[in-house]
């Protein structure tokens, strides 16, 4: 079971949005995709999810049950939160009682209240809507999770809770994870590997491996590694940050974590 993307390219009209993307995602691995806005991250995810046909290259997706969380919640406005969560279960023919039970359990685990489950999407806050969208994916027990900035509408406390939940879920089932995020600390927290993308056309310009197992990352390690990651020349250039800082403290942090966040050729 693996996802293999080779020589992938995509164009919208005349614009080259993605060019020459190679990517491999074996079972159980977690990869984060970062890059400046508009560099083609969502497009890449849509291609992998099969929502769009690539203009060049190929995608071999060996996973049996992929699930997608989109950048916007994209809930069905005429269905309650509970029915929205149960959407994928209904699609595979799970009986009503059973799918509602599973959907409710998952909704509650993601911090929704019982009363929220009976509400329609427009009656939920933005953060609740994204949790419903997450629950809709989690409840399918996917072997590949494709997440497009799923945590951007949540507060720090909820994020911490959901990170733990997400890491627990994928570890328990050896599921794979592909996360798009603008939050570098989130990338460092969730992934085994961070891919840095650059725009026009979208391509992968750097790959960084995080060696410490996901379960053993304390906050201190995450802060240091994130700081080190942000000092990588490709990352600074990619996000348009001013040139490498010579300030003592940042360099000290970077060197402290340098052995762990290695640039892989």
């Amino acid at each position: 079971m693996t996802l293999r993307v080779t020589g992938l390219g995509h164009r919208f009209g005349l614009a080259d949005v993605l060019a020459d993307i190679d990517l491999e995602l074996p079972a159980g691995e977690s990869v984060a995709l970062v890059g400046p806005s508009g560099c083609g991250k969502t497009t890449l995810l849509n291609l992998i999810a099969g929502l769009e046909r690539p203009s060049a290259g190929r995608i071999d997706n060996g996973y049996a049950r992929p699930a997608c969380v989109f950048q916007q919640p994209r809930l069905l406005p005429w269905q309650t939160a509970l029915d929205n969560i149960a959407l994928g279960l209904k699609a595979v023919g799970v009986a009503r009682r059973e799918r509602e039970r599973r959907a409710a359990t998952m909704g509650l685990r993601l911090g929704l209240a019982n009363a929220d489950l009976d509400k329609f999407p427009h009656q939920l806050s933005g953060g609740m809507q994204s949790r419903v969208a997450l629950a809709r994916a989690f409840v399918l027990e996917p072997d590949l999770l494709l997440l497009d900035e799923p945590f951007s509408a949540l507060d720090v406390g909820l994020k911490a809770e959901l990170y733990a939940l997400l890491l627990g879920e994928i570890a328990a089932r050896r599921a794979s994870l592909l996360t798009i995020t603008h939050d570098l600390m989130e990338a460092v927290r969730l992934s085994d590997r961070i891919l840095m993308m650059a725009p026009a056309p979208g391509r992968i310009v750097g790959e960084y491996r995080l060696d410490r197992p996901r379960g053993q990352r304390d906050d201190g390690w995450i802060y240091r590694t994130t700081a080190a990651f942000m000092d990588e020349p490709a990352v600074r250039a990619g996000f348009g940050l001013p040139g490498q800082q010579a300030g003592g403290s940042v360099v000290a942090l970077a060197s402290a974590a340098a052995g762990r966040a290695k640039d892989r050729p």
Binding site: C68, L76, P77, W78, K90, A91, F120, R136
Partner: protein, 262 residues
């Protein structure tokens, strides 16, 4: 069916919420009565005289048969336009070319006065059921067609992606993703068209048929019987109000309750 149960359960609360509407209805009756006191019963019979006359018509057995004939014609025309308008509108909405091409035709249909259609129908079909039915059909068709067209044109590509990503079977994509959206456009159009059909049928009957409420109106006008005219008008409007507020409005609420806060 769920809808039916919700409909029955909703009636008491709905009736209670109707007090405001009832109050304004009584206000209207008061104004009407005031008008009749000024102009006299010959010009404008008051509500009491009208309803007494209506009661007499019902007692004499004249009212229900005429109303039934009229309702049958209105509903036939309405049902035909509902079927044709919904199907053709949806199909046209699915294709950009078809929706662009149909726009001017719809504008012509909407702009054409119903009385013009009635004249044409008289020439084509003579005096019989076909004339009012056709006039109703042709007057309602563009309303429903436009509703269906807009419903299909505004289908959400993002939700289509959700259906695809979550591997919804075609049947479920239709019933859970497309249908609710389309119905939210179609249903108001159906209600508007039903009201329209009721008005058009009376007009058509007045000029084109020997029976029905419209024909009865023509007779009472010929006899200068204002009270009977008012009685027929009250019967027609009363039936429409009943249908609208007792049947359609609760269904509409049920169908669209995801839009409005509960």
């Amino acid at each position: 069916m769920n809808l039916l149960r919700a409909w029955f359960a909703g009636i008491p609360a709905y009736l209670w919420s109707g007090w405001g509407a009832l109050a304004s209805l009584f206000m209207f009756l008061a104004l009407w009565d005031w008008g009749s006191q000024i102009y006299g019963d010959l010009v404008l019979p008051g509500p009491l005289a009208t309803f007494v006359q209506l009661g007499a018509l019902v007692d004499a057995g004249a009212a229900w048969p005429e109303l039934a004939v009229t309702a049958k014609r209105a509903l036939t025309g309405f049902a035909l336009s509902l079927a044709a308008g919904s199907v053709l509108g949806l199909l046209a909405g699915l294709s950009v070319t078809a929706s662009v091409m149909s726009r001017p035709i719809v504008t012509v249909l909407v702009g054409m006065p119903p009385i013009a259609w009635l004249v044409l129908a008289l020439l084509w079909f003579g005096t019989g059921d076909a004339t009012p039915v056709f006039t109703v059909f042709i007057a309602c068709f563009p309303i429903i067609f436009v509703g269906a067209l807009q419903g299909a044109r505004t289908l959400d590509g993002q939700l289509k992606d959700v259906a695809h990503a979550y591997r919804l079977p075609l049947r479920m994509t239709l019933s859970d993703v497309y249908l609710p959206h389309v119905v939210s456009y179609l249903f108001p159009a159906w209600i508007a068209a039903l009201g329209m059909s009721w008005k058009i049928v009376v007009m058509a009957e007045l000029l084109a048929t020997p029976d029905g409420v419209g024909a009865a109106l023509a007779v009472s006008r010929a006899h200068l019987d204002t009270a009977a005219s008012m009685a027929w008008i009250a019967a027609v409007v009363g039936l429409l109000l009943t249908a609208e507020y007792l049947v359609l409005e609760p269904i509409k609420r049920e169908v669209e309750n995801w839009r409005t806060a509960l």
